[in-house]
Amino acid sequence: MAIRIMKLTDLSNNINEWFNGSGPLADIVVSSRIRLARNLAGHKFLSRCSNAEKFDILRKLKEVLMSLDLGDKVFYISVDKAPSLDRHLLVERHLISRNHAFGKGPRGAVIAQRESFTAMINEEDHLRLQVLKAGCQLSQCASQINHIDDMIEQKLEFAFSPRYGYLTACPTNLGTAIRASVMLHLPALKITGQIEKFFNAARDMNLAVRGLFGEGTEAASDLYQLSNQVTLGVSELAVVTEFESTIIPEIVEYENAARNQLLSKQPDLLDDKISRAMALLQNARLISSQEALFLLSHLRLGINMHKNMGASTPAIKRLCTLKSRSNTDEQAGVSIATINRLFMLTLPAHLQLNYGKPLDPTHRDALRAQIIRSALNG
């Protein structure tokens, strides 16, 4: 128990590698993720399993997963026994799904310390593997997860049919059972009122869109997760290639065009958004999670436009010469890593776990405002 708590606080105090602002195209493609669903042969799917059978599945998978050489330290969490705040933390860090955190019956998660790999045991399927990387790195995620899957298959048999592929509890995951997704930061499409175009393009390409770090599809943080829906009749390679050669370039182009439009045609609008965000974040005494995400998104936009497009409007200049206390390098100005860190560390479970005890919403809003002020006022 002591080890588990120590490790979780280690996580909650730091930003995960896949969210540190590095990697190809990271100004727009924040991170890449691949998930695979697998079920053990000779067992029922979870909806028909007794707790005894679920426990048997959990034991088998945990044993194999903990014995794999994943190139990183791994730890195991009994999700069904973990305190509620710990579960919220794992959801906020995208390590487990909300369904897994608050589901029923014996279930667990194997997590690599650097958080690039997670396995959820007894979620909707017996096993859900996940590999996460910073920036646009879907191919790398795919090859790593394929290797992990191969290692597991050396020791356990998965339910598979030559006709339907990997058999999953829900027919919508059948086949390769692969879910490739990218987390996209699209603030300029939002500010210029073109975000619907992105939703429509996603629908036309048979992709699912979900708002991240917020409620509903329109994420307060302007971060969206885009993922494939078709898993049967299309190979893993084809799914990843389509993302990398068609889907991602198209959306990156949309967002870049919107950023250019802001800069050349609506610089006052852009500066207004950035100036307001700076003024509020540097001075607010109480700030909700939703408002913080909304404003931090505009700072992230300003910094990236300066870095990648050489934008230097008055507000961007001020933003990029801010002396940030959390900067570790000599360079002046707030870094993307700092903004991402504030995105993550001011989420409710992170705040409370780092504070050491549960806080009511008003106290959370005060603590959140204090952390942000301190990071942005050097």
Binding site: N39, H43, K44, E157, S161, S235
Partner: protein
Amino acid sequence: MQCQICNKNEATIHLTEIADGVRTEMHLCELCAHEQGIAIKTNIPINELLSSLLAVQPADDQLSGRSDKGLSCPHCGFTLDQFRKEALLGCPYDYEVFEKSLLLLIEKAHNGKTTHCGKFPSRVPQDARKQVELLNLRQQLETAVQSEDYELAAKLRDKISAIEKRKAVC
């Protein structure tokens, strides 16, 4: 295609309504759809989607004179009614047992595709009979535990672990 209401913008919302066996289609632009009070759900809960897909199937069953209604899986006891409620299957063999009913849904969910293309496990479970046997033994074990027949349960458990060990040696 142009919006049927304003006849100006491109129609991006396509509605199909089937009432009393009569099918009507509407093609609208976003603005007109909004004015008509048509909310666009981008996140349809998966069970809602699956239920609506399955709901169109009885006609198909009637055509062939065969229905999966009332059928239950011999390995896990699962029925289609349960699938309609939970949107999750009971065991891998449900794909065979309810193939006829599931096929249309699979086709719709996967853009018309019905055959796997992609990774094959290095060890495809060779002996389907063994998998079925394991499923059935686990089902019997559960019944034995529920009826507190621990002697039978112990025997079944030994049998399951013997089969699993045989598998590990292979």
